[in-house]
């Protein structure tokens, strides 16, 4: 028993290593951007404003984390519906759970967000793993459905949230991130994590060694959906209302964060630390450029350039250390 557990742990660590090794450039970028930000705007980085700061970054970080399990599961695994799912959770929680049903307490809101996230995650998993539609197409279908539903329910920004909820973008902004982090940490302690990484790296080998690849992939989308539901709470706390236009923008940002953080889009390589650092890079870049009050166009240009530069330099770093292609 202990021998098996130790072996499993060894395997898990071996699998996890590339995730940290692959984030060299992103990690360096993080340090540089953090220093630049602190130099430009020290006030914002003092302990008393940490709550607000984390609240600003939380939707993007959790969106990146929600995208990670599906990507890790391999064979084109990708969930492009993460952004619209966050927007949908935002719309339902504000206009239906809180405004219409009057369930403004934390329990009802958290349960609703997690149930909605899990339901659509399971739907994506069903399409991608069981019906076997290519993930980008399956989740694109879900993307369109969710974005359309959100705009139907909430045609324009509306609604308010109770004060405990606003607190999730202030002093308590770390709670949603902590919940996602703990859930994922718990998962990495189970055999599921090893099975997921094995499936992502080489699904045929995983299948022939008896792993239930279909179930593993299905669960990856389900887990991502739950995280997206929680990410929707961070988003709602930050904007303080229901807005049909914001959620969608997180899809491409989240995928960029994940790639920036060294998570391989081919699956099986990378992890939560990388995805978090990737998301922080993008957040700090945005916040530094916003400080200079430059136009969003410069932000967009810089962000595109850094994304390409980051993935390219990570790849060059790897190939110079390894075999010559």
């Amino acid at each position: 028993m202990t021998a098996t557990a130790a072996k499993m742990k060894g395997q898990a660590e071996r699998f996890r290593l590339p995730g940290i090794a692959g984030i060299g450039f992103a990690g360096l970028l993080f340090v540089v951007l953090l220093l630049v930000n602190v130099y430009l705007n020290p006030e914002r980085f003092l302990p008393h404003s940490w709550g607000t700061l984390i609240g600003l970054a939380a939707p993007l970080i959790s969106a990146a984390l929600a995208s990670t399990p599906a990507i890790l599961s391999g064979r084109g695994g990708l969930d492009v519906s993460i952004g619209p799912l966050m927007g949908f959770v935002n719309a339902i929680v504000v206009t239906i759970i809180i405004a219409k049903w009057g369930l403004a307490g934390p329990v009802a809101v958290w349960v609703a967000a997690i149930v909605i996230g899990a339901a659509f995650g399971a739907f994506n998993g069903f399409l991608a793993a069981i019906v076997r539609i290519q993930p980008i197409v399956a989740t694109l279908g879900t993307y369109l459905v969710l974005a359309g539903l959100t705009t139907t329910i909430v045609p324009s920004p509306t609604g308010t949230i109770p004060s405990w909820f606003s607190g999730l973008s202030g002093a308590w902004s770390f709670i949603p991130l902590l919940v996602i982090g703990l859930l994922w940490f718990a998962l990495t302690r189970t055999p599921y994590y090893t099975a997921l990484m094995a499936t992502g790296s080489e699904d045929r080998a995983a299948f022939t060694s008896g792993l239930n690849v279909t179930l593993i992939r299905f669960l990856a989308y389900l887990v991502g959906g739950v995280f997206a539901g929680i990410a929707g709470l961070s988003l709602t706390a930050l904007i303080g209302s229901a807005d049909p236009n914001i959620g969608e923008t997180y899809t491409l940002l989240a995928i960029s964060s994940v790639a920036l953080g060294g998570v391989s889009l081919a699956g099986g390589r990378g992890g939560f630390i990388g995805a978090t650092i990737g998301a922080l890079d993008i957040f700090l870049l945005q916040s530094a450029l916003i400080y200079f009050n430059v136009s969003t166009f410069i932000l967009q240009t810089a962000y595109g350039a850094i994304l390409v530069l980051a993935v390219a330099s990570t790849a060059m770093q790897k190939s110079s250390g390894g075999r010559d292609l």
């Binding site: 539609i133 197409v137 279908g141 045929r204 390219a312 190939s319």
Partner: protein
């Protein structure tokens, strides 16, 4: 029913054609004026624009990649062409500049992805974002200018060509479809595309240079996106950097509804041609049935899932070992 689905799975284009025909009759039965020349003409123009933007996506997907820079290149060509032509430049020169820039951007996408083994999804997304940001910076977010009259006539809903009740873009789209199909099936480049897409290591032994092929294919993709961008300038009349936005996912949807799998090495442009028509039909139908734009979007998503689950399913892992 079971055997029919089996046939569709072997011949996905047949499935798409069948659905296009069924949708057409459904439209005739449920919406007044669906069969009118006007509706038919506008559907054909919209399908042609989507089809042209999807040429590159088809080629890139056959190669085993994906191109998310198409909407950005469409917007780039749209704005740059309008801006330069508005500044009084000769339109032929404008087109040349736009084409050369688009080819260069596309070649960069492909070469970088292939040389460093990067996922093209991220490379094209990053490069596309950069290009759009640069264009917006250049025009300060307020692009001006328009297309010359003959481009507008070429794609206008009211246009006609000779005795035909269609503007020039419709017959041009048909000719282009045949040309692309011929290019894929009968030229060395086309055959190399399939070879490299289905088995990259084996293609190397056939002396196919992957970096060159990727650069050339992504360059072609950007070129077709740029053509769509210039035509859209004629269609809408004014420049708009986000004009290509719907094409991000619609080009992928057209390819997939047309029966081309995203795994590489398989598929055809004829499928994408039918896929573009099916998507345009569904859109027109839903709007004709009185749905709001947001409901149209939701229904389109559901229909894509439904169609692809009918004939676009991947084989089970146990059949791939």
């Amino acid at each position: 029913m079971g055997s029919m689905i089996a046939i569709l799975r072997r011949q996905p284009i047949l499935g798409a054609v069948l659905i296009a025909v069924l949708l057409y009759f459904f439209g005739l039965a449920s919406i007044d004026g669906f069969g009118s020349t006007f509706t038919l003409r506008s559907m054909l123009i919209l399908a042609a624009l989507l089809g042209i933007a999807s040429v590159g996506q088809t080629l890139v997907i056959i190669l085993g990649g994906i191109d998310l820079s198409i909407p950005f290149i469409v917007g780039f060509a749209n704005v740059v062409a309008a801006q330069l032509y508005g500044n009084g430049m000769n339109f032929a020169l404008v087109c040349l500049i736009v084409a050369v820039l688009a080819l260069a951007i596309g070649a960069f996408n492909g070469a970088l992805s292939a040389r460093l083994g990067l996922h093209p999804l991220i490379v094209t997304l990053g490069v596309g974002t950069f290009v759009q940001g640069a264009v917006l910076l250049w025009t300060a977010g307020f692009p001006s200018g328009s297309a010359p009259q003959y481009i507008s006539n070429f794609v206008s809903i009211g246009g006609s060509i000779g005795p035909l009740p269609f503007p020039g873009v419709v017959p041009a789209f048909l000719v282009m479809t045949l040309a692309v199909a011929f290019f894929l099936a009968r030229t060395p480049f086309g055959r190399r595309l399939y070879a490299l897409g289905s088995n990259p290591p084996a293609a190397r032994y056939a002396l196919i240079d992957p970096v060159w092929m990727w650069a050339a294919t992504f360059a072609l993709s950007a070129l077709f996106a740029a053509i769509a961008g210039v035509l859209l300038l004629g269609f809408t009349g004014s420049a708009y950097a986000d004009v290509g936005k719907p094409y991000l996912f619609q080009t992928i949807a057209a390819v997939v509804v047309g029966g081309t799998a995203l795994v590489g090495g398989r598929g055809s442009y004829l499928g994408t041609f039918v896929g573009a028509i099916v998507l345009t039909e569904i859109n027109t139908l839903l709007i004709g049935l009185g749905f709001q734009p947001s409901a149209v979007q939701a229904a389109l998503g559901a229909v894509i899932i439904l169609l692809v689950s009918l004939y676009g399913r991947e084989a089970h892992l146990r059949e791939q070992i």
